[in-house]
């Protein structure tokens, strides 16, 4: 049957090279401006922003230093493996001497290009990622030798098809049910298949020693990550946006260097705890964000609103795969033999994950437990439930989460938006009212 289908782009319409070049140029220029603007805004709110943050500002430039490094490393023969979401087993990529880099897109402007293929009802993360590919905007996506796409939601499932016109796509099939031995077995096999693909692409065998080193490298990253997270539990010494930026750069930075830089930042911030040198007033309402991933740079729209609002809020923790979920859980190995390590990787990427793509008898209780625990640990005053239109799984789970939060007496606000800048005004109204409400409750 397959032979009946001609080999031609399955989805992407033909575009004149001149149009591609022009769009690439203008969107890139606009994006660099958004990146600079976001950093300016973070600096403005956090008057005494430490020097250690400058490193992350630099890495946050999606067209800057890191893209250049990747280009050089690729030219030197290294393979670059893109991934669309944090289900991708980073340790295996590192163990084969390849470079992992996240390729999901937070560009609002490219979502409009995706509209040429898909109706606007489709999740904008998908439309934007495809749009970015249409004009070769993302250096990381362009440089990738293959892309791991875990089929977590319907959007990502079809995204894999759309991108397969350009790049080898490695699907991963996460089960929708975690607490079943046969689904876990299936996932373990997915991990083994990906391992083989990585080995074949790179020509490097993943040895016991190499894998151990990779796991340890990521464990160090988790340690630094948790150190920073710990600092957010008290009076704010780092604002939410800044912590989110640090977290998210781990998805494309060199992970060892990132770990070192996070530790340097934590050295400084720990001093500030002693000195009571806060990034926001200690009585600022403490907000948790949960929901759709907020992808740098354009999706900083919402944390910008929260932390620049009057009254101001500070994001002390989130439950997002674009930030506080990325590195929280280490791969826990019993014995450093190959089979144990692979088991541990397989378990870590599925059991620790709180993605709403899972279902269970109790209604995705892992996500609920995560949220409840963090609310208590981080003394959260209120939750912003962020959903982009078309993000069906997060939208559907809202009612479940709200029920739990209502019972805890924690206010939650459903903030729905799009990949657009046009709704900032009315979102501001809603965010300010929510923060006002939290402030009034704190006053009581």
């Amino acid at each position: 049957m397959a032979s009946k289908i001609e080999k031609e782009p399955k989805y992407i319409p033909e575009m004149a090279q001149s149009e591609i070049d022009e769009l690439n140029k203008s969107i890139k220029a606009a994006s660099i401006k958004v990146i600079e603007d976001n950093i300016e805004r973070m600096k403005k709110t956090w008057k005494n922003r430490p020097k250690a943050m400058e490193y992350f500002d630099e890495i946050s430039n999606l067209f800057g230093k890191r893209a250049k490094e990747l280009e050089e490393q690729k030219a030197a023969g290294k393979k670059i493996i893109g991934y669309s979401c944090i289900f991708a087993p980073i340790e295996l990529i590192l163990a084969a001497d390849a470079i992992p880099v996240r390729v999901g897109s937070g560009w609002y402007d490219t979502a409009k290009l995706g509209d040429r293929i898909m109706p606007v009802e489709i999740c904008p993360v998908i439309r934007s990622t495809v749009g970015a590919k249409m004009v070769s905007l993302s250096p990381y996506l362009e440089l990738s030798d293959a892309i791991v796409i875990p089929l977590t939601c319907d959007g990502r499932t079809k995204l894999s098809e759309m991108l397969s016109d350009f790049k080898p796509i490695w699907y991963m099939n996460p089960p929708r049910v975690k607490d079943d031995t046969h689904t876990l077995d299936m996932w373990k096999k997915e991990i083994l298949v990906i391992k083989e693909k990585i080995e074949k692409l790179t020509g490097n065998k993943i040895t016991r020693q190499k894998l151990k080193e990779a796991i340890e490298k990521m464990q160090q990253a988790t340690k630094a990550f948790r150190r920073l997270q710990e600092l957010r539990k008290g009076a704010p010494v780092i604002n939410g946006r800044d912590a989110m930026l640090v977290n998210q750069t781990s998805l494309w930075d060199d992970i060892e260097r990132w770990t070192q830089k996070v530790n340097e930042l934590c050295d400084e911030l720990e001093k500030r705890v002693e000195q009571k040198d806060y990034s926001s007033y200690p009585d600022t309402p403490r907000v948790m964000i949960t929901g759709t991933p907020m992808i740098w740079p354009d999706s900083w729209k919402v944390p910008n609103l929260i932390e620049e609002s009057n009254p101001q809020g500070v994001v002390v923790v989130d439950e997002q795969c674009s930030s506080d979920r990325i590195l929280y859980d280490p791969v826990g190995v019993d014995e450093w033999n190959m089979s144990d390590m692979l088991n541990a990787i397989s378990e870590r990427y599925i059991m620790a994950c709180t993605c709403p793509c899972f279902t269970s008898e109790h209604g995705n209780e892992d996500r609920i437990n995560w949220i409840i625990d963090r609310i208590k640990e981080y003394k959260v005053d209120g939750v912003i439930y962020y959903v982009v239109r078309g993000c069906i799984l997060y939208a559907m789970e809202y009612a479940r989460i709200k029920k739990v939060l209502d019972k805890m007496g924690i206010p939650v606000y459903y903030l729905d938006t799009e990949y657009t800048r046009e709704d900032v005004g009315q979102m501001k109204t809603r965010v300010e009212a929510f923060l006002e409400m939290l402030e009034a409750r704190i006053d009581i």
Binding site: T429, E432, A433, E436, M437
Partner: protein
Amino acid sequence: MMISAGIDMGTQRVKVAIIKDKQIIAQSQNFSGFEPAKVAEQTLKEALESAKLSREDIEHITATGAGVNMASFADSTISMMGADAKAGAYYFPSARTIMDVGAEDARAVKCDENGVMMDFVVNARCAAGAGTFIEAMARALEVEMNDMGSLSLNAERASPINASCVIFAESDVVSLIHREEPKSEIARAIFDAMAERVSSMVNRLGVTPDVVLIGGVAKDVGFVASLKRRLGIDILIPEEPIYAGAVGAALVAAKRAKRRH
């Protein structure tokens, strides 16, 4: 003695309320027009004149509403929802759910016995649940907007229309007119559709009695009848619901002024 003022910079009208020791002593309103900042000054001036006060007598002014930043003379601001909660509890101390239906948007707020907002929902994206919907439909029916309400009360039933969008609804109304359906039934359908939008919004929040309706549209008997039918409960409405936002802001202003003493 403490005098404070609230100004509600609405999308269609600017409203000012002045309160003295928790009593409303003056209210005034004007169309926002093209220069809302000037209108704000003017409206405040008129309220001061009617209360026989001067600007210096006001201890604190709090602004609210969509154009809140246009009232540059205000000492502070409050969200529309926060002002709604304060006003609802002021008019009716038993109020726990307050619905505000204005010209361009609708929202609902839950509050405690002190008028502190506990939760809220907003419908800001669709005009089918707001006052401009009535205006557009009245135009299609060729009746005065203020007559729509009493007209709808004569209807036994409602004609079916699409309530999801003003534009679709308008074309539905046009075809009903062509089918020579009675205007009263079409008018009732319009209010039913609006009530459906507003009640589904407030249902997301949960309807805790007593329920208060404020905002300019609360004056429309047709809409109120439809909303009562749809929610199946009684709704409390203050005498001059259009000033609710301004009154809420003035109450907040009084509190903030006191804090400084």
